[in-house]
Symmetry: C2
């Protein structure tokens, strides 16, 4: 089935061009026109694959989800559970330039979910990934005895997920107020705090 | 100075039309064309005031900041400090339709800060407001004895602010997973948790 192989190869080529634009000029700069130019295609040829910027961003987000999943699965985690959990969650924060660009794509898609169902579907998948990571973190800490017994795991998952997304937003929009070391400190502090019983 | 009065009156008229569009059709629907139609103006006449959708959103955000400030100042807060703090912070969460629309404007502007300096300036003002509210909350709780003495107030302010923005995002994007009562419960739980000493 050479046509399918062709299409996959072309998508990989486009993904490369798309991310070169995103890394160089930011996610907002990734338009049908600029990505076509980067790939050495005509805008018309690119429109065979993508007609809107949202479709490009959705494609970029898919790539982020795949990359992040592969990164998680390839990495060997060693050390005490609380330490591993902390490192795992740091992976979803925009603590370096690559992840900041990924977070830009996420934010642009988030802003489009109201008007574009394709953006909504991808956002859902991306957010479900971070929610599952939060859930896994709370469970792992609980199994390790690092979550006070009176806590509601579902509430703690929701709280951790909200914190991670808030930190992502602030690291992206206000890097002067939320540099990487601050985001790390806030996350570490939050995870430590799970060890305490709730107040009466 | 009749010209200035005129301009103010016209801006108020436009703000009314703008927010009618936002409430009815969502923030993304507020374009120069749709707002002009709602106000009964020609798009050309509206462009005398606003040329891009970002400028419209920035104007809408200014209105949100003014409204929220007025709402805070007009309200009489009574009750125990932790209760007042909780209610005050609930004001910044999108727990009803009006505040959800305001949060939509915020999210759309957030996504544009990279490409539009006007969006960046307004976002900064809006976010500074929520950061100040978080700071005030931590200080008020500390003065009341509801923050454990070993806590770092700046870190707790950053953590609370990130949580509030994360909850805002989730209430907006995933209302099935983060309905108003859940957002309230997560916030209440977070504030209660400040009473505990940090772990060793």
């Amino acid at each position: 089935m050479p046509k399918i192989v062709d299409r996959d190869a072309r998508r990989a080529e486009l993904a490369g061009a798309l991310w070169r634009v995103v890394y160089r000029d930011g996610a907002a700069a990734a338009t049908v026109r600029s990505v076509a130019a980067e790939a050495g295609w005509s805008p018309g040829a690119l429109r065979h694959y993508f007609t809107t910027q949202t479709e490009l961003l959705a494609f970029a987000m898919e790539h982020v989800i795949d990359q992040a999943t592969a990164r998680f699965e390839a990495r060997t985690w060693t050390g005490p559970v609380p330490e591993v959990v902390r490192q795992m969650l740091e992976e979803v924060l925009p603590l370096d330039r690559q992840r900041a660009r990924e977070a830009e794509v996420w934010l642009l898609l988030a802003a489009r979910t109201r008007t574009d169902p394709a953006a909504g579907t991808l956002m859902r998948r991306a957010d479900d990934g971070v929610r599952r990571a939060s859930d896994l973190a709370v469970r792992a800490l609980a199994a390790h005895g690092s979550v006070a017994p009176g806590r509601d795991p579902a509430l703690e998952t929701a709280r951790l997920h909200a914190l991670l997304d808030g930190l992502t937003l602030h690291a992206l929009l206000h890097p002067d107020l939320m540099p990487p070391e601050r985001a790390r400190a806030v996350l570490a502090d939050h995870l430590d705090g799970l060890r305490h019983e709730r107040p009466d």
